[in-house]
């Protein structure tokens, strides 16, 4: 690749606009009054090559115009996704196709058919995000390397045109240059400028590191995006649900049999009138006492398995710790976290019945059925015995009118009992459900009389392990550092050049010209230097024909 040698002797890479060392324009549009100082006029790949397909792709993604379009399209798409709830927020027991039409009419139907109900997981949304990622990488590479070169190679002595064509510039007649030079230098040093001098010329610079801010923040974003993508790699991410009854000990799913959890107790509390602080009474009154949740809490014990897993054998457990899992206070251990997310109060757990003679009401013993794990027969002694022929934990009549169960959860238990008694040794059959008894083979002498229900609360916990979190954390932190670096500091440079009895003074910053001007005012105060003119403002005033209040007429 051919290099370009400037008259100052510096050799620049092909495509350079302003000489890296002295700033003399090499290949720029000289019709404009002011120099385009973006990226220091360095040689950017995207501005230099446009032949091969690789060049074209590179140029496409390195364009900020394209980047902004990608951002704007993502923004609009994201907004569309909030018009109606996403699929994950609709009730779990409905079919989406019907739900959207039911709730929102034809617009809902259209929304569903266009796939907007699962917008953020759609391939095209992912593609948009991925394009932003690619764009971030390419645009940063395209700029950061040349910018780094240009800032590293910049010389102290700048070409006169370079100075004259800066936004802030002034030329002053000075009698005693040495005195001025010393004065200005001292003032610059006081304002913590980093000063370089050469043959009586000055380059004062501060905050150069802020120029790397955008690139640092883009790197942070890229790391964040990579972290978010890793979630799809198996093993990085565990997301399981654990429903656990009071008193129950269960293996924690997703831990490969390593951890077990016992639920001692689940508590649900509400805010009640007169039980809370005085200041809350009015609020509780308005929504109603007992209407607002106060606490969801599972008191649990975490166990770890000791020894190897032997199939069919009870695991040996070692207690790790007691914990009260509440919303906002997950149980964390060994990269796993258990969250309180759901609950069920008063799930039937045990149901008891008396075996009763219908006529005399005499009782012949109590049968207690564990609804999770019922026995098949209950011996009551003295020749009384009850067999459980069938059990329907979540009973309903199916389309043929036969009893069936919807699930294994005892929401609505029903039983078919066979009662064996000394009088009826062959047994009587009775179908017993809540508030309902059917005697399929005619009138029985005995019945199973409901004697009590024991309920338990169930905690719904989420089990998480997420190895991507630290990557997201690192990405986020780098992003913030880059952002602060680029936004709260700025890069300021001041040049002073002595030619033909005149002192040329020029300044440049990447942002906050107002602050720079104030600073210059203080630096030249009391010296022979003329306050630099803001050539951009001058040009605008000129264009407005000197009439500064044109619009107000």
């Amino acid at each position: 690749m051919e290099k370009v040698k400037c008259e100052c002797g510096h050799v620049n890479p092909h495509g350079t606009v302003l000489c890296e060392s002295c700033g003399k324009p090499i290949a720029e549009d000289s019709t404009k009054k002011l120099l385009d100082m973006r990226y220091e006029g360095s040689a950017r790949r995207s501005q230099t090559y446009n032949k091969t397909i690789v060049d074209k792709i590179w140029n496409f993604f390195s364009s900020v115009k394209v980047g902004v379009w990608l951002i704007v399209i993502t923004l609009l798409a994201s907004a569309i996704g909030t018009i109606y709830p996403q699929e994950m927020y609709i009730p779990p027991n409905v079919t989406p196709a019907e739900y959207y039409e039911d709730q929102y009419g034809w617009t809902g139907k259209l929304y569903y058919e266009l796939g907007f109900h699962n917008l953020y997981g759609s391939w095209w949304y992912m593609l948009l995000i991925a394009s932003i990622g690619v764009s971030l990488v390419i645009c940063s590479l395209d700029r950061v390397v040349p910018l780094y070169r240009a800032l590293k190679n910049q010389g102290v002595v700048r070409h006169e045109t370079f100075l004259r064509r800066q936004r802030l510039f002034s030329a002053s007649k000075v009698d005693n240059y040495d005195k001025l030079f010393a004065e200005v230098k001292e003032k610059l040093a006081k304002r913590r400028y980093h000063i370089r001098e050469e043959n009586g010329n000055i380059l004062a610079e501060k905050g150069r590191f802020s120029r790397w801010g955008p690139y640092v923040n883009h790197i942070g974003l890229i790391i964040f995006l990579i972290g978010a993508m890793l979630r799809f790699v198996p093993g990085m991410y565990v997301d399981e649900v654990l429903w656990i009854r009071e008193g129950e000990t269960k293996e924690i799913p997703g831990t490969n049999g390593k951890y077990f959890l016992k639920n001692e107790k689940f508590t649900f509390e509400v805010y009640e009138k007169d039980k809370e602080k005085e200041v809350f009474q009015e609020a509780i009154d308005r929504v109603g006492s007992g209407m607002v949740a106060k606490n969801y809490q599972s008191d649990v014990v975490l166990y770890e398995r000791v020894g190897p897993i032997v199939p069919g054998e009870e695991p040996k457990l070692k207690k790790v710790k007691d914990y009260k899992i509440r919303v906002n206070e997950p149980l964390k251990y060994d990269h796993y976290a258990l969250y309180q997310v759901d609950f069920k109060m008063n799930e039937p757990n045990k149901m008891s019945f008396h075996l009763v003679d219908k006529k005399t009401n005499e009782q012949f013993g109590l049968v207690t059925v564990d609804l999770r794990n019922p026995q098949s027969a209950y011996d009551l002694g003295n020749g009384y015995r009850v067999e459980l022929l069938s059990y329907f934990p979540d009973f309903y009549f199916d389309e043929n009118g036969n009893p069936a169960t919807k699930s294994k959860i005892p929401n609505n238990p029903a039983f078919v009992f066979k009662m064996m008694t000394p009088d009826k040794p062959e047994g009587e059959v009775s179908f017993v459900a809540i508030r309902q008894t059917i005697e399929p083979f005619g009138d029985n002498q005995y019945k199973m009389a409901f004697a009590g229900l024991e309920t338990k609360n169930v905690s719904g916990l989420t089990v998480r392990r997420d190895f991507t979190l630290w990557i997201l954390g690192v990405g986020g932190t780098i992003f913030m550092i880059g952002l602060i670096q680029g936004m709260y500091w700025n890069h300021r440079r001041i040049w002073l050049k002595h030619v033909n009895g005149e002192v040329l003074f020029a300044a440049h910053t990447n942002k906050n010209w107002y602050g720079l001007k104030n600073e210059i005012r203080q630096i030249i105060d009391g010296t022979e230097l003329v306050m630099p003119v803001d050539q951009v403002e001058e040009a605008k005033k000129g264009a407005r024909g000197g009439d500064d209040s044109g619009a107000a007429k």
């Binding site: 607002v292 906002n328 989420t462 942002k511």
Partner: protein
């Protein structure tokens, strides 16, 4: 006086002081000798504003003490806090740039926001489990601070537009500028209409049939122009609705919106009658002395300062809290998505400015749109699109 009462009084004092501050900033503009960037009236104005800010800070702290948690847990508390941060951001920017015209526009916006907030239930409520976390105040206060600083760019943008938009003939630009002002006036309309009906103790109870076919009850605090689906008025001597809404529309909220817009129209129309020209045209003489480049720079500075704060509060802290409270750092809940949209929007703003040279008027219009997005997230997402974060219930 209980701590809670003291707290309300302090908020009231702050509100009055902001009004007074606005008057002084107005005086500072009209001061003929106002060649220097600051003058007597402006100095008094900023002093009053600072006292007002301290009073509101007092409201915030006493309410925190009374409740035992940071008062940013419902729409009223969050919105007043946002108003306070807006004043705070204005004070900071004022000391950087010393231009009083900013106060003349920033304070009324803050006043409107606080007045708007006060229309929602104001009692101190206990926290639901999801909000019982230190992250409540860490996240919400930083997010509000970021949004408030960004809102200053809207104020600067508005001043810029009033100054540059040519009022000699009607155009798209004059239309949209009037539209912005109309929106501000409608907020005032909402406040006035709500306050009036509240003062009159207006209440009309309806029974109606919701979209699941169940009978429900609702109480209107304003006369029902639009009634709920199959609504039946239960309270005697109340206004019968003119039209009835289908079940999927929240008729009560729509009714409030209609009343506010009507209030806004009446106010706007009255102003036009009195002023005999566009509102923006009448405001133009106030801003005739502003330095456009400086105003533009303030707008940009506000975004440059506010963007990192917003990112930290509304995205990073939000994600950390979501991971703790809801098991996942991101869940595409509408409020989260709108925070992302706000963030993407300001990212686009910065890129357009830096690389495409969108300074001046373009930048000012963008600042207005950005503020509209922030307000949408604050108001509409809470009230219309209900999600996990929604304060809608309260």
């Amino acid at each position: 006086m209980t701590v809670a009462q003291l707290s309300s009084t302090l908020l009231y004092i702050a509100f009055v002081l902001y009004l007074l501050g606005t008057v002084f900033f107005g005086g500072a503009i009209r001061d003929k000798k106002a060649k220097r960037s600051t003058n007597r009236a402006a100095t008094i104005g900023i002093a009053i504003t600072i006292i007002g800010f301290i009073a509101q800070l007092g409201y915030f702290i006493t309410r925190w003490i009374a409740a035992g948690h940071a008062p940013v847990s419902n729409l009223f508390e969050f919105t007043t806090f946002f108003g306070m941060m807006l004043v705070g951001a204005f004070i900071v920017i004022y000391f950087i740039y010393k231009i009083s015209i900013l106060g003349l526009f920033a304070l009324p916006v803050a006043i409107l926001i606080i007045a708007y907030a006060s229309m929602f239930p104001r009692e101190i409520s206990p926290l639901i489990p999801a909000l019982q976390s230190d992250w409540l105040h860490i996240h919400v206060t930083t997010a509000a601070a970021g949004e408030a600083i960004l809102a200053i760019s809207f104020v600067a943008g508005l001043i810029y537009l009033i100054r540059v938009v040519d009022q000699s003939k009607p155009s798209k630009r004059t239309f949209w500028l009037e539209f912005i002002l109309f929106c501000l006036i409608s907020t005032l309309g909402f406040v006035l209409v709500s306050t009036s009906f509240k003062a009159a103790d207006y209440e009309a109870k309806f029974t109606w049939i919701d979209k699941n076919g169940k009978e429900a009850e609702t109480v209107y605090e304003m006369p029902a122009l639009v009634g709920p689906h199959k609504g039946e008025l239960q309270t005697a001597d109340r206004f019968e609705p003119i039209v009835e809404m289908p079940a999927i529309i929240n008729a009560k909220k729509l009714n409030t919106v209609i009343w506010s817009l009507m209030g806004g129209f009446v106010l706007y129309w009255l102003l036009r009658l009195i002023l005999r020209k566009r509102i923006a045209a009448s405001l133009q003489p106030l801003v005739k002395n502003v330095n456009l480049d400086l105003t533009d720079e303030i707008g940009y500075r506000a975004v440059a300062i506010g963007f990192p704060v917003f990112t930290l509060g509304a995205l990073i802290f939000a994600m950390i809290w979501a991971q703790i409270a809801w098991t996942r750092f991101w869940g595409w809940d509408p409020k989260e998505v709108w925070a992302l949209i706000t963030w993407l929007f300001y990212a686009a703003f910065l890129h357009l400015r830096l690389s495409k040279g969108w300074h001046g008027e373009k930048s000012a219009w963008l600042a207005v749109i950005g503020f509209a997005i922030i307000m949408f997230n604050l108001v509409a997402v809470n009230l219309v699109i209900a999600g996990l974060h929604s304060y809608a219930g309260t």
